[in-house]
């Protein structure tokens, strides 16, 4: 009797498999951060076409391997959610195909995921198959797609150097910005949005970044340098406010008083205009900002000592 049941089940499974078509579409370079897979909907699309005419209940079995065949993760089918596929079929995304709470990761991949949330860079293959809920028998053909994890890192502002004090005369017409490129280089060119904010008196740099209207917002493609012709009316301190007549130590740079302060950052976008924020804490592709100052003290007073401290004078 058991044999008969087994044979009937097998025939049913094969018949179902023949009548359930699936298609796995996957980005060839998904984000390294796995929770971003569900945000970027194009990362995984798994299409189920049900030609049986009946409503089917299935599980999605996924197996993630490295390109040399080592198992990275598999679905724990005992905890997987049962999917109901009607005659109209079903389209699934990453959160259904590789749900992080159901996938069981192995070895160093588990360590990496727990520590960083990322898969290590390299070549991978994802294989997906539908199985029956009760006994996990195949209900569709196995679909596999290869992909590469690049693990991009956002650009880092480099020039002006963090907390650099620039002579007013040198910055009167232009200020040159440089930054590191996205690493490794993506297949399609990225767009760097250079954003510069003035730090007003009684503001901290982060306040300025989070609340001010930027003085400069410009998009740059293909290079990591921008020469800003700012057209700002920079001026020395009025003669009687020069620092030697002030009660403040001349080695102090006080934002909004003897220096103009600025905070600048880059927001990176992919070729479709979406924030390029692989693993970026806020998901907005914004890099850690830098600060610089334009010295309003007249020469040669501004050269006598290195500024010992920067004061944001927020009160």
């Amino acid at each position: 009797m058991k044999k008969v049941f087994f044979i009937i089940s097998l025939i049913y499974s094969v018949a179902c498999a023949a009548q359930i078509n699936t298609n796995l579409l996957m980005s060839n370079m998904p984000p390294a951060t796995m929770i971003d897979w569900e945000v970027k909907k194009e990362t995984i699309t798994f299409v189920i076409i049900n030609q049986t005419g009946a409503v089917l209940r299935v599980l999605v079995k996924a197996e993630l391997k490295t390109s040399d065949g080592a198992i990275v993760a598999t679905t724990d089918l005992s905890r997987a959610e049962v999917m109901t596929v009607g005659p109209a079929g079903l389209v699934l995304s990453a959160k259904d195909v590789v749900p992080l709470d159901v996938m069981v990761f192995n070895g160093r991949f588990r360590t990496s995921l727990e520590k960083t949330g990322k898969l290590p860079s390299g070549g991978y293959e994802l294989c997906v198959q539908l199985v029956t809920p009760a006994d996990f028998r195949p209900a569709s053909a196995v679909r596999c797609r290869s992909f590469t994890i690049a693990g991009f890192q956002l650009p880092i502002p480099t020039m002006p150097v963090h907390e650099q004090l620039i002579d007013l005369e040198k910055a009167r017409t232009t200020i040159t910005f440089r930054w590191t490129p996205v690493v490794p280089r993506p297949n399609a060119p990225v767009r760097y949005r250079l954003i510069v904010f003035e730090i007003l008196e009684k503001q901290t740099p982060m306040q300025a970044l989070r609340s001010n209207q930027p003085l400069l917002t410009t998009d740059i493609v293909g290079t990591t340098q921008y020469i800003w012709q700012h057209q700002l009316p920079f001026g020395f301190l009025p003669v009687h406010e020069n620092i030697n007549e002030s009660s403040v130590d001349s080695t102090y740079i006080i934002n909004g008083r003897n220096a103009y302060g600025f905070i600048w950052t880059l927001q990176t976008f992919d070729q479709l205009g979406r924030p390029f924020g692989d693993g970026n804490i806020n998901g907005d592709g914004v890099s850690e900002p830098n600060i610089f100052f334009i010295d309003r003290r007249r020469e040669p007073l501004n050269r006598t000592k290195t500024p010992a401290r920067i004061i944001y004078n927020i009160q």
Binding site: T33, I35, V39, D101, K115, T116, G117, K118, L119, S121, G151, I156, T158, M159, V161, E169, R172, T173, T180, P181, P184, R185, I195, K202, T204, M206, Q207, L209, R210, S211, N212, Q213, L215, T217, T223, T224, Q225, I227, Q229, Q231, P233, F236, P238, V239, H240, Q267, P275, I281, N282, G283, V286, E288, P289, R298, E299, P300, R303, T304, T306, I314
Partner: protein, 587 residues
Amino acid sequence: MRGLLIKLTSILLVGSFAILLSKVEAQVTPVAGKRNGYRINTSGTMGVSYEHYGLITNPDGWSGFTPRKPWNQVRFNFSPRMQFGENFSLPFNINFATTPTSSLGPYSGIRKQSFGQFITNPMNSFGLNPKYKWAELQLGTQYLNYSDLSTGDIGVFGGGFDLRPGTFLFKFFTGLSQQGINFFTGPPQTNGAYQRNHWMASVGKAKEGKYELALNFVKGRDDINSVDSVPANIKPQEGFTMSIVGKGYFNDGWYFSAEGARSIYTKDLLLPKDSSRVSFKPFIEGRTSTVRDYAADASIGKKSRNFDIGAKLKFIGAGFQTPGYPFMMPDRLDYTLNTRFNAWKDSTGNYKMNVVASVGQRVNNVSKTTQRAKQFIGNINWFTQFDEHWNLNVSFNNFGFQAPGGLNPFGIKNVSNDFGISPSYTWNNEKMVHLFTLTYNYSNYDERDVITGNITSNNTHMALLSYIPTFLLKEIAPDFSIMYFLNKLPAFRMTLITLSSGLSWSALKKKMNLRGQLQYTYSKTNAFKNNNNLIVSASSDWRISERVTWNVFLSSNYFRYGNEIIPNNANYLESNVRTGLQYRFGN
């Protein structure tokens, strides 16, 4: 509970404000008052300023230049500090503006704010810090810096305390850094954000200028139910960071500081709990999106009048994230060595030479989850005062960035070299001091194409001559400069020539400082017709009375393109008017 806290804090702020206003009347006399046996002193400032921005583009409707300030903005500040006797002080820090202008972060694009959003908008601060001896109550907006790896960047609106009995310290603060903001398609688009609650605490022992040892705890958690809609890329998050920090300062100028921190961070609170992920109950419970990692920094060095040396090391693990520094970039190791020294004594015992230098390296992707990239930074600034007439400043800055090719035939290799030399000549007579400065800067930036291996060199030359005469017997101070700037790279050449002159002078027996500036720039790109730019600005600071100052600033920027853009001869006129009154409390 949190709403109640905000209401209580607001009531306390308003109440204190009312008390202060009742005192101000009594404090307008320059001498401190004495009431009920207490000596009351008030210092600090308050004021209001208005700023107008105008932009006219030609042809009408041309969008080649976008406004860079709000059309109208009014800012208020109210920062008095009341001192009651020797032991009790009541400082206020109230700053706010009428028009929200955020373009980055949670408040980006917001135009109409609720009262709660206005109060917690990073543009505005409403803070009150009453202090009695060693006990400080912190109310309203506070920018608290506990340490470099725990919290320090974010303004939080709420309540807490900072107690320092003897050499002990106990700190606690809780509040909101952002209100819930719904996504709005715009224009302008509002990104939206979850309400973020913060808790922070610190326990330790410290003696100012001697040592500090503290344990810090910081937690941030988004309220999932605080908004109706946010974009898919914004996830509710939760983070908990613990750190231990130690600092020591010694009599001979030596110092050290070190901090070690561990973070547990949930990137998406909507994902289910996962017992296999790290937890630290009751502060944070692991979910499938929870990561944990470490960070550390250390510095050691010596500071003295004529010689400083210091070394710094900073490691941020790939999974390290803390709610107190929302833009901190993880997965890196930085180390730098800095020095400053004075040398070459003159006959009066003063040093003629000052050198400041630093060298360091930053390694990105330390976790090896991806390609490792290295960044080298070195710079030196060398100033020498040869005699009473001549001085020379030389600077050099090198920056290199390298990453292996990976999938590309060539690796990334960007190298930047900047060299500057600037001699100055000063001479004077009984009436005037003349200062001539010549500056030359050469900047080279090489970028390698990772597909072809070709290197693009971007070269910049800048020459600047400035003349600053100082009239010893007159109240005027003019300055003049001319600058030539050339930027060249293959098939591109841009030239700029800038003429600039400023004049500042004192009037009304030094009660009024006036300043005017005129600047013209000629610019030309390749064979296109040249562009012209004229900037005019004027400012006045008038001390109307002992306590009241009136500031006015006017500027205008006219830019006219040649034919490098379409439409040809497009131009714009930017204008800016700022005026404000400042009242100074106390003596």
